[in-house]
């Protein structure tokens, strides 16, 4: 893997605003602590406030597979990184400028990423001998030279929190739990974030436990007050990151799960169908099941199946009956669905499979992200069993891809594989709220004409078969997994017919290439020395790295592929215009295989299989070095 280069530090202008806050262009902060320390919550609240302040931002939650690992262990450390800026940004940042470490284990795991000279905020209260040993330190890192090259702020946050909530009638345990809010308060002071959204949220969340709400708010305010009043080391100052200039509109912070959910809902409405969602819980796909479960008022039926096979089969059954069948899972669960996907292909029913990819193979690293199910999506079935595959790049793109998946599935009567990623599912970004009216409706027309009807009657143009649903008088018919006669839809064991049907199924999917946009170049020229071709969530990192190279005068372009299958009709032409094709992927080289076989272009793989997003600096270095090859 690419060696860990030192991340790019936020450009520090050393300008100050009217209130004396130093003005920063961008900052990367990482909160790290025990799984029980509430780091995800802290990060999420900080994100909310930051979003409301008008910064552009990107986040990266990184948590252990254990639900609640024993306190103080390194594998129990949970982290949340946020990058926010006064300009448009696309990644959660390579390396934190600020690291908040709530205990020694968090320090142990994350210190290596902090930029040299970066700010380190430590909860002294957790640095007792036992925790230090548990984290695997021989000596206290506070007492040797471990922290020499950082700006260290040591605060006994635990004690401060206890003091702050002393007057409230909660247990010591409950009081201590508020220490993440104390920390959040301090960070709000330091970066001038509004506490009100958090206060509102706490009041709502703990509506039935007002004392808990009160304790948390007290801690939040105390942390803030501490910043204002305490004597902090002189190098520590307060900062402001001005609003980013972004398109006008109404914004909210979203994760890819939320936008996928809304996109599916929008798509279903545009198609005029009810959603049936059959799924089986699995990390990181479960949140989509959870979100859709709350949308019953939209006629959404969610079904927690007994396993992934039942999940996909029930969704297919629902499609047969006239709903929009959707299923979702992650790699291992999608593997289990493969046989049924063959049935979906052969019965030519609409179906959407949302795959939130995670690090594999097998159980792998369930909470880490990866892009390693592309092969499975395109090729992973018995027989000649093609289906469209589309992949989302950002949380907002998830919305559009979801709608597109519905459009293709219903228009072409086909299962569609929608490749999502664990990273997209969890990470938050600001999203300019779309207007559903901007999406052209694509209403489904069920078959009703009995004259000449048979279930495999095809539309001449799309080659889609007609969709006749139970309940329709006169269109009673039988479908199934055995090959069907092209002309009657009955079972057929005829040799030539099988050839014809295999070809028409393939042709139907390939024909979609005429119904999707031509491939565009994200940045750079339409031909030249090098093109970096990416897909999925690496979009931001690749774009930033290519931009930096371009700014340096390098002739490198960026192409981002959303339609994995079929590929855009002009893609081959486009790729052939470049001398070098570099394909960075968070897998061992999968899209690169597809490009090579389709276009016979000498595309090269840049594989990073760490379960972590690419760092812009790593990519930039790699682009530069490969250009010199």
């Amino acid at each position: 893997m690419p060696t860990n280069l030192i991340g790019t530090m936020a450009t520090q202008l050393k300008e100050t605003d009217e209130s004396g806050r130093e003005i920063l262009d961008s900052v990367v902060i990482r909160f790290a602590g025990d799984s029980g320390d509430g780091m995800q919550l802290t990060g999420t609240q900080f994100t909310q406030s930051t979003a409301l302040m008008g910064n552009d931002l990107s986040t990266f939650p990184d948590f252990p597979a254990e639900i609640r690992a024993p306190v103080g262990t390194t594998y129990g450390v949970s982290a949340f990184q946020i990058n926010f800026a006064s300009h448009a940004i696309k990644t959660p940042g390579d390396a934190p400028d600020v690291l908040v470490a709530m205990n020694p284990a968090a320090l142990k795991v994350h210190l290596k990423d902090l930029v040299p000279g970066g700010t380190l905020i430590l909860n002294l209260g957790a640095f007792n001998a036992r925790n230090i040993e548990k984290a695997g330190y021989k000596e206290s890192p506070l007492e040797d030279n471990t922290l020499d090259s950082y700006r260290v702020i040591e605060i006994d946050i635990s004690k401060m929190t206890l003091a702050a909530v002393e007057h409230i009638d909660v247990t010591q345990k409950e009081a201590l739990r508020a220490k993440n809010l104390w920390t959040l308060g301090l960070m709000c002071w330091m970066y001038d974030r509004d506490r009100q959204p958090t206060i509102d949220w706490l009041n709502q969340r703990f509506g039935k436990l007002p004392l808990i709400a009160e304790a948390n708010i007290a801690a939040l305010n105390a942390g803030h007050a501490f910043g204002e009043t305490a004597e902090l080391p002189s190098e520590i100052s307060t900062y402001v990151v001005p609003k980013a200039k972004v398109e006008p509109g109404i914004y909210r912070a979203v994760t890819g799960v939320e936008t996928t959910c809304w996109g599916l809902l929008t798509g279903a409405q545009k198609a005029g169908l009810n959603i049936f969602f059959g799924s089986y819980p699995i990390t990181p796909a479960s949140p989509l099941l959870h979100s859709l479960s709350n949308l019953k008022a939209y006629g959404v039926v969610t079904f927690q199946a007994e396993d992934e096979i039942s999940a996909v089969c029930s969704a297919l059954g629902a499609s047969y009956a006239g709903s929009l069948g959707i299923t979702s899972s992650s790699g291992p669960g999608v593997a289990l669905k493969s046989e049924a996907l063959g049935l979906a292909v052969v019965t030519e029913l609409p179906l959407i499979i949302v795959n939130f990819q995670r690090a594999g193979p097998s159980t792998g690293l369930p909470t880490k992200t990866e892009q390693s199910d592309l092969y499975q999506s395109v090729y992973g079935r018995n027989g000649d069993t093609p289906m469209p595959v589309i992949a989302a790049s950002t949380a907002s793109d998830c919305y559009d891809c979801a709608i597109e998946a519905v459009r293709l599935a219903t228009k072409y009567m086909t299962p569609v594989m929608f490749l999502n990623e664990g990273f997209l599912a969890n990470a938050a970004e600001p999203w300019k709220l779309p207007d559903t009216d901007d999406v052209e409706p694509f209403p489904v027309e069920f078959a009703s004409e009995t004259e000449g009807f048979h279930p495999y009657l095809r539309d001449e143009k799309t080659l889609a078969r007609n969709w006749a649903i139970p309940g329709t008088e006169g269109l009673e018919h039988r479908i199934g997994g055995i090959e069907k006669d092209y002309d009657s839809g009955n079972i057929s064991y005829d040799s030539d017919n099988h050839h014809k049907m295999t070809k028409v199924r393939a042709q139907k999917i390939l024909g979609i290439a005429d119904d999707i946009p031509e491939q565009e170049v994200v940045s750079g020229n339409n031909s030249g020395k090098m093109v970096v071709v990416g897909w999925g969530s690496t979009f931001g990192a690749i774009e930033q790295a290519t931009r930096r190279c371009q700014e340096d005068g390098l002739d490198v372009s960026h192409i981002h592929i959303r339609y994995i299958w079929p590929l855009a009709r002009n893609l081959g032409e486009l790729l052939k215009g470049f001398d070098k094709i570099l394909v960075p992927e968070m897998n061992n080289g999968q899209l690169v295989t597809l490009l090579r076989s389709e276009y016979l272009v000498p595309a090269e793989s840049l594989a990073q299989i760490t379960g972590q997003p690419f760092k812009v600096s790593d990519l930039e270095r790699e682009i530069r070095s490969r250009m010199e090859d």
């Binding site: 409301l52 047969y320 139970p470 997994g481």
Partner: protein, 341 residues
Amino acid sequence: MNVQSPPVALKPNDYASDQEVRWCPGCGDYAIVKAVQKALSNMGADPKNTVFVSGIGCAARFPYYMATYGFHTIHGRAPAVATGVKLANPDLDVWVIGGDGDMLSIGGNHTLHVLRRNIDVQVLLFNNEIYGLTKGQYSPTSKVGTRSPSTPAGSVDSPVSACVFALGCNARFVARSVDTNLKVLPGLMQEAKENTGASFVEILQNCIVYNDGVYSSFTDKANIADGQVVCEHGKPLLFGKENEKGLRMTPGKMELEVVTIGENGVTEADILIHDETNRPLALMLAGMQPPNFPVAMGVIFRDPGPSYDAAVYDQIAEMTEKSPAIPINELMHKGKTWTVV
């Protein structure tokens, strides 16, 4: 969905599709398809609202022969597909068809869950104690010692009883019959259909090619009277040519025994009255094996409860009433947003 009753009464044959039946001559499946067609006709079922969902196997060819909607899916998954069909449109009348391999071997888990959830479908299991379509391997219902291509020296694992399994899965309607029992089968189907929730019907079916005569010890004409006992709620569990035999609880034990009226002082009053709502009794009845016991037929257990699909739609209605859908645009604007000008 616009569900109406059909304009004119349909005859059994009207439920037959135009597809040629492809089972082996003499296969028990022929009788079953006839029985189902008769049942549909008796009930005045509307073909357009009737869906047969099957897995893979000889039995699973069933839907092709019905002039209704049909989905011949993949091996073992019919209950799962049917669940989706029913949940998408609860107005449909959904039948699930499969063999013993389909529903108890590869598909055992889906059978468990469709029964446990009590989805309002009829599950018809054609049990021939063999894999027909793949040419005669033993199945999870084959008796110990079954010689088959995959067990040339005889099988050594004890079988599962379909009805006992269903009872353990919390099924609320469990019945059994025989393929050729055309007198009884249509009525049983109708009871299955009328039951709210999942109805499980085991149909003992003769595979003439690979397991011929496996049931003849109690299904051959001459053996029926002594070999079968018909369970009818509230009626004594009598059998035999003259109804001279019966089942009773061994005094002082929770165990069934076969007794003859008039022998050893046994009178009709000693005979157990069938209580179809009693699951432990059903377990005993379902588990009875020849030659020591007659095989229990009819509705062995029935104790209806709310169906899953109805509950799902009730909940949808409830939630919709509580907070009705707002336009998606508004939905997305709910929560913390900010405006950039």
